[in-house]
């Protein structure tokens, strides 16, 4: 067992760090303040292959592995949580299900441009009445001749209005079980932007990750080709759950990056900030807090990297993904909150950025499965 990144992965980390420092960090405050999607940065990431890191070369990707992808989301999130989630939602929630479940034609048509960075992806499962209880989803798809007709709406969709290709989960069948209860069957679909009947609703005004373009998607008699069914009919729920297993590793990496970014800044700040005639880094309270945070962050990192390795080598990695996301998200929230406290009054001021990191951290405990859902997944596996 070796806990060091090899030279290849380390060079990739150096690349992501360099890119994040030069291209992402200078814009992070503005992205948060203005809520403007960082299109220029995304175009640069597309040009340099960041949007297809774990996709095989034959499908336009970079042919790297989940660990490389995770370090990319981590390094971006150290300086800007918004940029981290843009890559994560595109890669884990759109590219990955097409790679895993798509037909060869779907891969050529959709995955290749997504991985090459010519198109941006999104994933739509959540509905106003269906968050953790995904079975509550109402959006329907009915086969009519050679087309599926979609009706309903999705909410809180990351990369919402900016994406070109959407994976949409919809009800395609309702069965009645022997006890007379309704049991919905879902299917997954690939929907292109500008398809008639597909429009955007409300843009969400969020607490954190404010540049990530979170929108409501509306489908009104939206007709898509029959061939845009992703995977088998009726298998949409397991496809969505499997997709989220991968997505959770991306969000865990985002949470890890946010925690690391806040901690790095706080270490610097505590060395400079003087109170009672010496730096606050010389006060034992600060030292113990930093020690605790650094230890938590390291533990989160090991879980996140372990989950990435599990995705590379195992068929099922939901358990590792849930543990990584649970711990990294809660670490991000705790660490950023403590960092703001160590900054004192300045921590509450936007210019110092740790308050943004604290706001960005909160979502990692909520989306792609709340911390409570992760505990259900983990305990479910323990007690099986």
């Amino acid at each position: 067992m070796d806990f060091q990144l090899d030279a290849k992965h380390q060079m990739a980390v150096d690349l992501f760090k360099d890119f994040a420092e030069k291209e992402v960090k200078p814009k992070a405050i503005e992205v948060d303040e203005t809520e403007v999607f960082p299109r220029d940065t995304v175009e640069k990431m597309q040009k340099y292959g960041f949007m297809g890191i774990a996709v095989p070369k034959e499908y336009g990707g970079q042919g790297c592995d989940p660990l490389t992808y995770v370090t990319c989301v981590e390094e971006l999130s150290k300086v800007c949580g918004t940029t981290g989630v843009i890559v994560s939602a595109h890669s884990s929630l759109c590219c990955d299900p097409i790679l895993q479940f798509g037909t060869e034609e779907q891969k050529q048509k959709y995955l290749v441009p997504l991985a090459k960075g010519e198109k941006l992806g999104a994933f739509a499962l959540t509905e106003p009445g269906a968050g953790t209880d995904a079975q509550g989803a109402q959006t329907k798809a009915v086969l009519d001749g050679d087309e599926w007709v979609l009706n309903g709406s999705k909410c809180f969709i990351t990369n919402g209005k900016e994406a070109d290709v959407y994976i949409v989960i919809a009800v395609t069948q309702v069965d009645i079980d022997p006890k007379g209860r309704k049991k919905k069957k879902f299917s997954a679909f690939i929907v292109e932007k500008d398809t008639p009947g597909f429009t955007f609703g409300t843009k969400e005004n969020k607490m954190g990750i404010r540049g990530s373009s979170t929108y409501e998607l509306i489908f009104q008699d939206c007709r898509i080709p029959k061939d845009n069914l992703l995977g088998a009919e009726g298998k949409g729920f397991p496809i969505a759950m499997h997709t989220l297993d991968g997505g959770r590793i991306g969000i865990a990496a985002q949470a890890l990056g946010i925690a690391e970014g806040a901690l790095e800044r706080t270490i610097e700040y505590t060395k400079e900030r003087k109170q009672f005639g010496r730096s606050i880094a010389q006060q034992q309270n600060t030292q113990f807090q930093l020690a605790n945070m650094a230890t938590q962050v390291e533990a989160a990192k090991l879980l996140v990297y372990k989950a990435a390795m599990a995705k590379a080598t195992q068929k099922d990695y939901g358990f590792e993904a849930a543990q990584a996301k649970l711990f990294a998200a809660e670490t991000a929230m705790e660490v950023t909150t403590k960092c703001v406290q160590l900054f004192g009054g300045y921590g509450y001021i936007r210019e110092y950025e740790v308050e943004r990191m604290m706001r960005d951290a909160k979502i990692t405990e909520i989306y792609e499965g709340t911390s409570e859902v992760q505990r259900m997944v983990i305990s479910g596996a323990l007690l099986r």
Binding site: K8, M11, A12, L15, G49, K57, T68
Partner: protein
Amino acid sequence: MKIVVCVKQVPDTKGGVKFKPDGTLDRAAMLTIMNPDDKSGLEAALRLKDQYGAEVTVLTMGLPKADAVLREAMAMGADRGILVTDRVLGGADTWATSSTLAAAIKNLDYDLIITGRQAIDGDTAQVGPQISEHLDIPVISYAADIKIDGDYVIVRRQYDDRYHVLKVKMPCLITALQELNEPRYMTPGGIFDAFDKETTVWGRADLKELADENMGLAGSPTQIAKASDKVRKGAGEKVTPDSPQEGVEYIINKLSEKHVI
């Protein structure tokens, strides 16, 4: 077209400078980067490759760990990397370095050689032009723009207050300024490919054209007597005089105090 780009692995000044007890740089203990001028030279070569088609070979001399700059260059798009490394080549000054690199280049086919103007550790700006002398080919230094026209290169040579446009028949050598371009980033897939490829490693025995008296510390006419870290100056004194007259008087008094005037 075949382009050879010479690059050097240099200490990353962000990581701090470390010395051995004898006063020479402790290269093994310092963080390293690809020399910035060399990186711009590489970018220039890669742009020529994109525009005209070319095979780009990256050449470096250094410790075995200098392999990292070759991998970085290949991850940016260079086709192959050659590391010249041998204990007997260590301690080389610019003469021995340029003799060694020229001997390595004599093993290769080339139309164009690009080097950085100078390295941030030595700041001599001598190695590139010296290589051209050893190879007996023209040199164009301080290139701010490079174009290809058949068998010729058209280069804008930058000076502080003016520039020259030169048209030179290849083969020739160009030294590049950092201001020449903004080097591209590596790509993640490029990094993976670079580590899948082999780099070529040449030792003393592979450099047939290199004479013993022109290599390593013994073959170096320049010997470093002493190197030292920059001595930190005191914080200084800040004064805010009420008038220019008062300011001048204050300075004159200080200079007299120190017996400068």
